[in-house]
């Protein structure tokens, strides 16, 4: 096992203080960049590191930066700290554990892309992270890492911390921009206008995830070859039926079996039935896929994805119908209502699953669910609605007998997972 990189100082007492961060080599990457590297050099290093965004879509970071027009007079960096994909908690872990690492990545990115103003958007539920980051930003200003003429150079940069107010959809990059502009978090049409060309306030905007930003200081400090030789380091949020849930740093391409082992094994010594490899937007996989390398390519081949790296383990006692119903109910709850396939699709799917769980399902419901999955694929305005079919398909293809057991009465009807129950009770729900 290689030494920890991204998590190296997470858990170190006082790491959120700039003095501790500096003692561990903090802001050395920034010093190095300002002294020895041109902005173009930094972009090249990140490009050669093959870093791919850690927010879910996995887009190459260096390429994203290169899309931004060089000569634009005003450009922005927006950091997506709206971590909300169910099962994902690595950004929160980084924010609470090493806030200056994020800041250093932010400042380096601004230097590389020629940006003078960055916004860090944190979901409202990150109260603790917000307090720590607020303090870290103030310390960075005091130490001259932010503000005018950083470290005596011509480079100036400011950072504004911005809270969300409770909306999963704000994690979608264009919805996040709307939210940051003081509007409802509803996604924008793209193409033609990608944020790199027309983003915040219609200006060119780089949007990167928290973990992505935390990779930058390491890449700049030690170089892309070193970075790749470390794995490259990837954070997996491992939760569900494991003995020690937590964020695990492992080389990209580690298998779920290895992660389960590092998480202390399956609770009660039971066997795995299924697992989500990349949050609830990815297609859940069966136990036979425990040895598949968790990387972008291998998972795409299975019709799934690495997404945010959230590995959710479900043991053999898990009721997959209830799990999938809960997942679909989440998307119904969080659908912004802008487009019909998502707004109506998530609602229909949830109602049908509810009916099946209540013992009132019909065999035709399975075909209906299949047709809904088909009609929600490639038709939704943004990835939110598109996140429902992967779970649904896995349910209908890999765990069909569990659905049939409810429909045929071989399984006792059960109460809804709690969110759905509340949905029924809520006025208009």
């Amino acid at each position: 096992m290689t030494e920890r990189v991204l998590l190296r100082h997470v858990g170190v007492p006082g790491q959120e203080d700039i003095e501790t961060y500096l003692r561990h080599g903090g802001y050395e990457a920034l010093r190095r960049a300002l002294r020895e590297l041109s902005p173009e050099d930094v972009v090249e290093m990140v490009d050669r590191s093959q870093l791919r965004g850690r927010g879910g879509a996995g887009f190459p970071t260096g390429r994203k930066w290169k899309f931004v027009p060089k000569d634009a007079p005003v450009k922005y960096l927006v950091v997506n700290g709206d971590e909300g994909e169910p099962g994902t908690f690595k950004d929160r872990t980084l924010l609470e554990g090493d806030p200056h690492l994020l800041l250093e990545g932010v400042i380096l990115t601004c230097y590389a892309v020629g940006i003078r103003k960055a916004f860090i958007y944190l979901r409202r539920e990150f109260y603790q992270a917000y307090r720590k980051l607020e303090r870290a930003i103030a310390q960075a200003y005091e130490h001259g890492f932010l503000g005018e003429h950083i470290l005596g150079t011509d480079f100036s940069c400011e950072v504004v911390l911005h809270p969300g107010a409770g909306a999963y959809i704000a994690g979608e990059e264009t919805a996040l921009l709307e939210s940051l502009e003081g509007k409802r978090a509803m996604p924008r049409l793209k193409p033609p206008y990608f944020p790199a060309v027309m983003g915040l306030y219609d200006q060119p905007t780089v949007l990167n995830n928290v973990e992505t930003m935390c990779c930058i200081p390491w890449i700049v400090k030690h170089g892309p070859e070193w970075w790749l030789a470390q794995g490259p380091p990837q954070l997996y949020s491992v939760s569900g039926h494991v003995n020690r849930p937590g964020v695990i740093e492992a080389p990209l391409g580690t298998t779920a079996r290895e992660l389960i082992e590092r998480a202390g094994g399956v609770r009660g010594g039971r066997r795995v039935k299924a697992f989500y490899p990349g949050g609830t937007s990815s297609r859940p996989l069966r136990a036979e896929h425990l040895d598949v390398p968790l990387n972008h390519e291998s998972l795409a081949k299975l019709g799934s994805m690495l997404g945010s790296g959230a590995v959710i383990i479900m043991d053999e006692t898990t009721d997959m119908v209830r799990v999938i119903a809960r997942v679909c109910a989440f998307y119904r709850e969080e659908s912004c209502g802008k487009c019909t396939p998502c707004r109506e699709g998530t609602r229909w799917v949830t109602q049908i699953l509810e009916r099946i769980l209540h013992g009132r399902g019909r065999m035709e419901d399975l075909e209906l669910l299949e047709s809904l999955a088909k009609n929600m694929t490639g038709t939704c305005f943004c990835p939110l609605g598109e996140s429902v079919p992967p779970s649904l398909r896995a349910g209908l293809e890999d765990f069909r007998d569990e659905f049939i057991a409810y429909i045929r009465g071989a399984r006792e009807p059960v109460e809804m997972p709690v969110r759905i129950r509340e949905g029924i009770l809520a006025p208009g729900g």
Binding site: P86, G164, I312, E415, P417
Partner: protein
């Protein structure tokens, strides 16, 4: 209805952004911190401070789950019941909370102390099942821990 201190803070917030409207969510959160929730008069006041139509404020306030357009208890409980918490007994915790507080999700205790809300994933699955009370996060929850958080040590954590 907002204090002069909060009004001043909202003006300062607006100056942080190239476009004042960006300060809307932080401003509403600040108003809510002072008042507990966002009565229509408070929304109108924020609208005036940011030079926005009151409709623009209302449509934002009604969209986000943590902007409260109706009164809530002194302390809002956000209990996660999403997948990792569900797999770890969040429903039992929910039932326990309902029983101990005597309310259903979405309701406020008659004494106005607590509002129980079902939250979506709080990004703390390593503490599943988990909840946020006020601005503090707790987990993994057991009935005993719930009691300690809500009723222990002179009734306040």
């Amino acid at each position: 209805m907002l204090s002069e201190a909060v009004r001043e803070e909202i003006r300062r917030l607006a100056a942080r952004y190239p476009v004042a409207r960006s300060a809307l969510i932080p401003a509403l959160l600040r108003a809510q911190e002072e008042l507990g929730w966002l009565p229509p008069e408070a929304m109108a006041e924020v609208a005036e401070l940011l030079d926005l139509p009151v409709e623009a404020v209302a449509e934002v306030a009604s969209f986000y789950s943590l902007l409260f357009t109706e009164p809530v208890g002194e302390r809002v409980i956000q209990l996660c019941t999403n997948i990792s918490c569900l797999l770890n007994g969040a429903e039992e915790i929910c039932r326990y909370l309902e029983e101990r507080l005597g309310i259903r999700p979405g309701q406020t205790t008659p004494d106005g102390r607590y509002t129980l809300r079902i939250a979506e994933c709080l990004a703390a699955c390593d503490q599943a099942p988990c909840m946020i009370v006020g601005t503090e996060r707790y987990g993994p929850l057991t009935p005993e821990l719930v009691d300690r958080i809500l009723f222990g040590d002179g009734e306040r954590p």
